[in-house]
């Protein structure tokens, strides 16, 4: 696939949380790149640092959290070095974001129209009249019927799917170059989820924006993304284009994740669904060496002592493992 120029380049990002019980390295040396018009899926279990990574990009990490290292190069400029005021002008205008909980992401005391209008008025020098017109267009764009009527409705009068559409309209209001979707469909039921994904894909095709698609659901990544980054304990463990990751997962963790997705075959044979043994390690006491070693079936002495580097195993496919899995995964999607 022809790749555009680099839009977002996250380099060795480190976001730590300084709590009374110790330092939690929520994001510990994460690097990934998003090209213009590309959809990058960032996958991982709860607590792997994927949401903290997205908040770091937005510069919305609150105390006790702090970005302690790395660079976030967006359109050639380092966001970490921006002042709060410069960052405020980027948020919403150049980077849009949608959240997991559509039920609570809208302010209950304002109509949805008012809230989308606010996003426009904050960044654009337009009259209220124009902003209202644009808001109604946006509502129509995200597939909300009767936008003129919906404009004056309060969030509690809309369903979850409708609210998520409103959130998308808000995020799209200033034509951002990058849309961050942080588990945006997780709280919705499956049919609505499919509609929202379709809407996001459609908007992405129309506007050519890039999407950072954060999820724990591999099936969604396969459907949405061009590239995939798999995160584990604050680090990227595998990175590559969607085909090579799903066809030839090389990191034992990715392999385990893919095997634990139920397929039609596993149901027929009545074999129990394979699961990854063990638990996500305690963030205060990370295992030495590779963080995955206590759960890894292939772990050796070396894995317990040394942290492997993220290395290119084939063109465009990076893995952080001393013993990459060599088996080709049967296509089950």
């Amino acid at each position: 696939m022809e790749r555009g120029e680099v839009l977002l380049d996250v380099r060795d990002l480190k976001t730590y949380f300084f709590t009374d019980d110790g330092v939690v390295k929520a994001v510990d040396g994460m690097s990934f790149t998003i090209h213009k018009g590309e959809v990058l899926g960032l996958v991982g279990e709860s607590g792997c640092g994927k949401s903290v990574a997205s908040m770091s990009i937005m510069q919305l990490v609150d105390v006790p959290g702090k970005i302690v290292g790395g660079e976030i190069i967006f359109k050639g400029e380092d966001l970490v070095k921006k002042t709060p005021e410069q960052m405020r002008k980027i948020r919403g205008a150049e980077i849009g974001m949608i959240f997991q909980e559509p039920m609570t992401s809208l302010n209950p005391v304002y109509t949805v129209g008012d809230q989308i209008m606010e996003a426009i008025l904050v960044h654009q020098d337009v009259s209220e009249e124009e902003a209202k017109k644009k808001t109604i267009e946006l509502l129509r764009l995200v597939g909300i019927p009767e936008p003129e009527r919906r404009f004056n409705q309060y969030p509690h009068e809309l369903s979850g799917g409708m609210r998520q559409r409103v959130m998308i309209a808000m995020a799209m209001s200033c034509n951002p170059d990058l849309l961050i979707s942080d588990e945006a469909t997780t709280a919705l039921d499956v049919t609505i989820q499919a509609q929202i994904l379709e809407l996001m894909k459609d908007l992405q095709r129309k506007t050519g924006m890039a999407i950072l698609f954060i999820t724990h659901d591999l099936a969604l990544v396969a459907e949405m993304a061009n590239s995939v980054a798999v995160a584990y304990t604050g680090k990227i463990v595998e990175y590559g284009d969607v085909y090579s990751i799903f066809k030839r997962p090389r990191h034992p963790y990715t392999y385990g994740l893919l095997s634990s997705v139920p397929s039609l075959k596993t149901e027929k044979t009545k074999t129990p669904l394979p699961a990854i043994e063990g638990m996500v390690p305690n963030p205060y006491r990370m295992p030495s060496g590779c963080h995955f070693n206590p759960r890894c079936p292939f772990a050796t002495e070396r894995c317990r002592k040394e942290m492997p580097e993220l290395a290119e195993i084939e063109p465009g496919h990076l893995v952080r493992c001393f013993h990459p899995v060599a088996v080709e995964k049967e296509a089950n999607a």
Binding site: M58, L60, V63, R88, K89, I90, R91, G92, A93, G96, M97, F99, E101, T104, S105, L106, N107, P108, V109, Y110, E118, A119, V122, H123, N152, Q153, Y154, H156, E157, M167, M170, A171, S173
Partner: protein, 297 residues
């Protein structure tokens, strides 16, 4: 279930059920609060309009035969030691007392909201400084300081009393508002507002404050009653509203010397104050019940 029921009602009546609409609906079911509201409206109207309708002037002295007369047709609530009509003075004094009550609550609220909002929203060092200052203000013994303040601040106007009450009355509001902000700032809609580039000030005043109005309104309603009592206490100690301007407080103080021979001088301001404060308290309770977020849907 509740959601569906209201949805059905919405469809049937075509009326949008906003939060405030539901609050109004629930308040109307609260009998004591509604009676109180009616009583308060009557009292406020009487105090505002009454003095204009009265044939007597507040400071109009009666002839010597009219001094300390018990209630009669001519003077429904009697006259005081200078022969002034008590009803007229009661209504006029009500104006002053209510004005002191409302204005001091409003001023205290402004200070309390600003302090509480910034402390709760920003947290950290700012929160520590502002809240320790609040604690210090709370631990100051008010009465001795009032005596000092009353002599330091020049003039004897009603505004001085309002100012003094406000200076010592904003701390509770500040704590309430801070508490609301502490919990509301964690809401996703605040995060979402930040993610679209809304400034901190705009988030504080436009996004969080309207969501924390309910406890503020309740506290203010109860506060009006409390401050009327406070004004009376100050007047009783001689630091309140200065005669000849009447207030319910200084009418009471004035009456204590003649209690044995002219009890009506005590009854009228006493009962007026009692009913008003009680009504504010019931209304506040009713509002608290009506605005309880746990009852919302």
């Amino acid at each position: 279930m509740a959601v569906e029921v209201t949805k059905v009602e919405e469809v049937l009546t075509g009326r949008v059920e906003t939060y405030w609409y539901l609050v109004g609906k629930r308040l109307r079911k609260h009998k004591l609060a509604m009676i109180s509201l009616v009583v308060l409206i009557i009292i406020i109207l009487a105090c505002v309009v009454g003095p204009y309708l009265s044939p007597y002037h507040v400071a109009e002295l009666g002839s010597t035969e009219e001094v300390m007369q018990p209630p009669s047709l001519k003077h429904p609530l009697g006259t005081d030691e200078l022969g002034r009509d008590v009803l007229t003075r009661l209504l006029y004094g009500g104006r002053i007392s209510l004005m002191v009550g409302f204005s001091s609550v409003f001023s205290a609220l402004v200070v309390g909201i600003v302090v509480g909002a910034y402390a709760g929203y920003y947290g950290g060092i700012l929160d520590t400084i502002l809240m320790r200052f609040t604690d210090i203000m709370f631990s100051i013994p008010v009465l001795p300081l009032l005596i000092v303040l009353a002599s330091v601040i020049p003039g004897a106007g009603v505004w001085k009393i309002i100012l003094v009450i406000a200076i010592f009355g904003w701390m509770t509001d500040a704590r309430i508002v801070r508490g609301m902000f502490l919990s509301l700032r964690e809401n996703e809609y605040v995060e979402a507002a930040r993610a679209i580039g809304v400034s901190n000030n705009r988030i504080i005043w436009r996004h969080i404050l309207p969501n924390s109005l309910a406890p503020i309104i309740v506290s203010a309603t109860l506060g009006v009653g409390g401050n009327i009592i406070y004004e009376a206490a100050l007047s009783y100690l001689g630091f309140g509203v200065m005669p000849p301007t009447p207030s319910w407080g200084n009418m009471l103080q004035n009456a204590q010397y003649a209690m044995a021979i002219a009890p009506w001088l005590v009854w009228s301001p006493g009962i007026a104050m009692f009913i008003t404060v009680l009504a504010f308290n019931y209304l506040g309770d009713g509002l608290r019940d009506a605005m309880d977020p746990r009852l919302y849907r």
